[in-house]
Symmetry: C2
Subunit: 142 residues, 2 copies
């Protein structure tokens, strides 16, 4: 089972108040809509693999957010990718899940990803540790 | 190598302005001092074990913070405990590291921890997934 949690933020503005015979539902239009998803990844029964990437950032963005978004999208396209759980609050912990060690190896060797890894050491991360793990057992609630 | 990162918050108040011949360094006293540590855990060479605990919280505290602090302290006393990396920002990801599967099993069966696990399902967590992993390889920067 997958658990999805959404945080939704809406703002509305008056749309057309001239036509008072319109149903109230048409009086407003959605002007902005923010959608945040945080999700416990739906993974298949073990064994599968996890990459735990724990890191601390340097100050400032310096292209980091753009790169992170791009790498997220690129990772999703990789064969054997199962999903990612990523949180930052000072310390950053990103856990990506993969079908096999080979899938992880291929992703690490991806050319665009290699560029991002180099830039990460040059400017974005003050420190990181990457741990390649075999998930042997899991359980969940509810 | 261990990487420690600290966030320090100080506030000072005037201490004694009567004695103007005092050196300025004595004019203020530290009134509050907050200390946050976030750290990439120093783990031994693989293999060792990781427990990835991904979760979403219910609303409100309801004793959660007190329990979390108590469980942190209790975990540190367990044989085979290597450290923890824990972050929450909507989604919570807590990765604890252990010397062996037996150490993990003992911690899961700890009586006080069992109570906390039960209360967690009853009131603190809307969902969680726990993954028991063998760390096969790791690398770090710098």
């Amino acid at each position: 089972m997958a658990y999805k949690n959404y945080l939704l933020l809406f703002t509305f503005e008056n749309w057309n108040l001239e036509f008072e015979n319109y149903h109230p539902i048409f009086y407003f239009r959605l002007t902005t809509f923010y959608y945040f998803e945080f999700m416990i990844v739906k993974t298949p029964p073990p064994p599968y693999y996890a990459v735990i990437f724990t890191n601390t950032r340097t100050d400032g963005d310096d292209g980091y957010a753009t790169m992170a978004e791009k790498m997220d999208a690129l990772a999703k396209e990789q064969p054997g990718y199962l999903g990612v759980e990523s949180v930052r609050d000072g310390l950053g912990v990103t856990v990506s899940y993969w079908e096999s060690l080979e899938a992880i190896k291929n992703w690490k060797a991806n050319l665009e990803h290699l560029e991002a890894q180099n830039a990460g050491r040059e400017k974005w991360y003050s420190a990181y540790k990457t741990r390649i793990c075999k998930v042997e057992r899991d359980y969940e609630f509810p």
